[in-house]
């Protein structure tokens, strides 16, 4: 056998699996998005009618809005908290190793279980409200029943879980920065803020960009903790995009329409990722 062919044999099993189990299904979804395809109904090509329906569907816009607002708010807070903590705790702080270990825990915590866990924490008679009672509050907030609070509550839970992610990544990056540059800046008498602005931040930017890209794309397709905490309610005030598509598929059985919703989401994701990487190209890293 020619060596070129042998080399391909190494890739073959995994790539074949990916083609059969990811690309083929993906094209199937794109395909059915052009059909009127529901459980029990006739399957007919409908010339993109699903897409026309989609842009007029207030629940789609609601889902985009909920997912979008959620993503922007939680990722910003996670980023700022994570960066702040990493900057504060880089270098020699006692207990830092233990803290790193503790911060790993939420990263692998089963998200649906975390959702239920916080159902207990934010329950009307749970520990959060008990604490507020100690502080002298009388009117307890209904964290998961009040439409103006629920998204905030779920956001809090996400921040609990994923600030760790930002912290650990940025801490690892900060600790791998070259010490010599800082020593030089020290000799030149640069202030802490100047060192951050001129040295730390620019050198961290590639890592920050990766961390943000991963977090943004993950938060935008979030599903699990909303299932645990709100099931989209009250009403549809916390129905994230993933949950809406899930319902269209497995509760309303509109498969063609679900396909169109998936394709729209994929397009948005592609634009978002390209925008994020545009920054990278502009700065020529």
């Amino acid at each position: 056998m020619r060596p070129e062919r042998t080399k391909l044999l190494y890739l073959a099993p995994a790539l074949a699996w990916i083609f059969a189990m990811i690309l083929f299904p993906l094209f199937y979804t794109i395909g059915i998005s052009f059909f009127d395809y529901t459980l029990g109904g006739e399957t007919e090509f409908n010339y993109g009618l699903n897409y026309l329906t989609a842009v007029q569907d207030y629940r789609l816009w609601n889902g985009l809005k909920v997912s979008g607002v959620f993503t922007v708010v939680v990722v910003s807070i996670e980023f700022l908290l994570g960066l702040g903590l990493a900057l504060l705790l880089s270098g020699r702080v006692r207990g830092r190793r233990t803290l790193r270990l503790i911060m790993l825990i939420p990263l692998f915590a089963c998200p649906i279980a975390v959702g239920y866990l916080y159902l207990m924490i934010f329950h009307q008679r749970g520990p959060v409200n008990a604490f507020l009672g100690l502080l002298g509050f009388v009117e307890m907030p209904n964290w998961l029943g009040d439409p103006s609070l629920t998204l905030f509550t779920v956001g809090f839970v996400d921040i609990w879980g994923w600030t760790s992610f930002m912290f650990l990544i940025l801490l690892a990056a900060i600790e791998s920065l070259p010490v010599e540059l800082y020593e030089a800046a020290q000799i030149d008498g640069a202030s802490g803020w100047l060192k951050f602005r001129k040295l730390t931040f620019p050198m961290l930017l590639p890592t920050i960009l990766i961390a943000l890209t991963l977090r943004i794309t993950d938060a935008f397709k979030i599903f699990d903790i909303f299932v645990g905490l709100t099931k989209g309610g009250p009403g549809i005030s916390t129905e994230v995009y993933s949950m809406y598509v899930y319902r269209v598929t497995l509760e309303y059985f509109k498969f063609g329409y679900s396909g169109a919703l998936s394709v729209i989401f994929l397009l948005i994701m592609m634009v978002a990722i390209n925008v994020l990487f545009l920054f990278r190209r502009l700065r020529k890293w």
Binding site: Y10, F108, C110, A113, L168, S176, T249, I273
Partner: protein, 296 residues
């Protein structure tokens, strides 16, 4: 003056460390304590066992709560660890373990090829990027074809069905992680083994694999944890026999009045295995979560 500022800075740092640790650990501690409380106590803000409440194991394994707690009526309570839940735990364990092995089996040759050979028609970088980009796919875009494919194969609500889906779900991550591990390994050892008569493949098996063994374990564990935690696919393709632990939790009916003392046990059972994984594979986790982009 400088001394005071330094001491203040140190104090602030320690205060932050302690606060953050408490903030992460408190919810977990709370759910643990809830699982050891009498049902009537779950809304009490008590959290120190023996001092503030009497811890019991009845919520876990069933039995009687005793006369005091039930107002004189002795009732046999069903524990949270029922046959149903044990079978869900076994399903989770089986699906996560077998699928992670499958990922290694399929992923190792591919990762090795990408790390060691140069491909021409499709460049290594492009293949790598293509595999990376699969991570951004939202799972809901695949649930209809996945359901139909499993139905076609008679695999709905079966463990093999879950294994197929989780292998798919983790394979891109597995390949990317393993590729980095092989790329970090100096090629000379395999080359000298090949001079001694090994083929490329036997050099991979005999020389390279043992050297990356710790990384392999880490990749396996990371895949295991992701499969264990997965919800949407499991919710789509299982309904009775192959339900996983996350599905059990997602299907807790709020209608039958939430039984926090029972739910707490289930939550702990779902949380524990991946947490153990996180602690065992700690060195590799940042790498795993950033697809190798950041080496923590």
């Amino acid at each position: 003056m400088v001394g005071t500022m330094d001491r203040l800075g140190t104090f602030v740092k320690y205060a932050v460390v302690i606060l953050v640790a408490l903030w992460v650990l408190f919810p977990l501690y709370w759910v643990f304590m809830t699982s050891f409380k009498y049902p009537i106590e779950v809304y009490e803000p008590s959290m120190i066992p023996w001092l503030q409440f009497h811890p019991i194991l009845t919520n876990w394994f069933g039995g009687s709560y005793g006369e005091v707690a039930t107002g004189g009526i002795l009732q046999q309570a069903r524990g949270a660890v029922s046959v149903e839940v044990l079978s869900a735990l076994l399903n989770s364990l089986g699906a996560a373990t077998i699928s992670s092995f499958m990922v290694l089996l399929l992923g190792i040759p591919c990762a090795y090829g990408l790390a060691r050979f140069t491909y021409h028609k499709w460049k290594n970088k492009d293949i790598h990027f293509f595999i990376l980009s699969l991570r951004f796919l939202p799972p809901f875009a695949l649930i209809i074809p996945f359901f139909l494919m499993l139905q076609f194969g008679g695999l709905i609500d079966t463990l093999p069905g879950l294994v197929v889906l989780y292998t798919t779900f983790n394979l891109p991550l597995g390949v990317v992680l393993l590729r980095d591990m092989f790329a970090d390994l100096p090629p000379e050892l395999e080359e000298s083994a090949m001079l001694d008569g090994d083929t490329r493949f036997s050099a991979l098996i005999r020389v390279a694999l043992p050297l990356v063994a710790p990384s392999l374990v880490a990749a396996f564990l990371i895949c295991f944890a992701f499969a264990w935690n997965e919800l949407m696919f499991a919710l789509t393709v299982t309904y009775m026999h192959a339900r996983t632990m996350p599905v059990i939790i997602a299907q807790i009916e709020t209608a039958q009045a939430i039984q926090f003392w029972i739910d707490a046990v289930w939550v702990i059972l779902a949380l524990l295995p991946p947490m153990v994984v996180a602690l065992v594979a700690q060195k590799y986790i940042v790498r795993g979560l950033t697809l190798g982009a950041v080496k923590g």
